[in-house]
């Protein structure tokens, strides 16, 4: 006799109230597993995106989204380093190394880490 049949037979012999409790529990576990599966899939898709395509050559779409984010947030985050995954902000810092560290700690070492100028900030050209 297979396990499922044994379980069914055993449960059928129990009082209705206990059967209902068992059914509720089984449904609860099933729902919980479903959520975990979705979370796992989302995370693995996210991780793959960031450790391969993002790290090597970001797609035109990602670059476009990122440029839109940089424009929209220049006034807010300008004057510091920003760490981005696509167009999502991981964190900001005052130095490149600190900002890179944020990305590394987030598990995305190849995140886009760059200095974002303030809107009115002027750069300097050296001797050329």
């Amino acid at each position: 006799m297979i396990v499922a049949e044994k379980i069914t037979k055993k449960i059928a012999s129990l009082p209705i109230s206990v059967q209902t409790e068992i059914l509720d529990y089984v449904e609860f576990v099933a729902q919980k597993n479903q959520v975990q599966e979705v979370e796992t899939e989302t995370w693995s898709e996210f991780s793959i995106n960031q450790t391969t395509s993002e790290a090597e050559t970001p797609s035109e779409e990602i670059r476009k989204k990122r440029m839109n984010w940089l424009k929209a947030n220049q006034a807010k985050y300008g004057g510091q380093f920003v760490a981005l995954v696509g167009d999502k902000l991981l964190g900001t810092a005052q130095s490149f190394v600190e900002c890179k560290d944020i990305a590394v700690k987030a598990g995305i070492p190849n995140a886009f880490v760059n200095y974002l100028s303030k809107p009115d900030e002027e750069g300097h050209l050296g001797g050329w």
Binding site: T57, P58, S59, E60, R63, R66, M67, L70, K71, Q74, F96, V97, K100, F112, N114, Y115, L116, S117, E121, E122, G123, H124, L125, G126, G127, W128
Partner: protein, 135 residues
């Protein structure tokens, strides 16, 4: 007291030319555009000719506007995200492209390049040692 640094790459440049010129390229998702660039510790940004950005297919003016000051004035650039390759290293950077076509320099400055590397220089012999800072 002696100090020691280690570098993963070594290159020779023409010490007879003005400045430290190295082979570099920029790319998006298509063919890279190759050129000679000068390493400039006095520049805040990596700044490139407009025509290089256009060869990459960029619409320069869609970038973030940024003025670059010089000893005699300032000029307008637009920052765009590109992948910079120098001596075997890739950097995903915000590069400044000069608005004016008359700007004919390619500069590797602090943001996007110098901040991410460590350099050793023997100018007399035209020797350049380079490694990524966070290696």
């Amino acid at each position: 007291m002696p100090h020691q640094l280690t570098f993963s790459q070594f290159a020779e440049y023409d010490a007879g030319q003005t400045g430290i010129s190295v082979a570099a390229s920029l790319k998006l998702n298509r063919e890279p555009v190759c050129f000679q660039a000068k390493i400039d510790t006095g520049s805040t940004n990596c700044i490139f000719e407009r025509k290089i950005g256009e060869k990459l297919g960029l619409k320069i003016e869609e970038g973030l506007p940024k003025y670059i000051g010089t000893a005699t004035g300032r000029f307008l650039t637009f920052e765009r995200e590109v992948t910079l390759s120098v001596l075997g290293f890739d950097f995903d950077i915000l590069a400044c492209f000069a608005e004016n076509e008359a700007f004919r320099k390619n500069i590797l400055g602090s943001y996007g390049f110098l901040m991410q590397v460590k350099l050793g220089l023997v100018e007399y012999e035209g020797k350049l040692f380079i490694g990524k800072y966070l290696e």
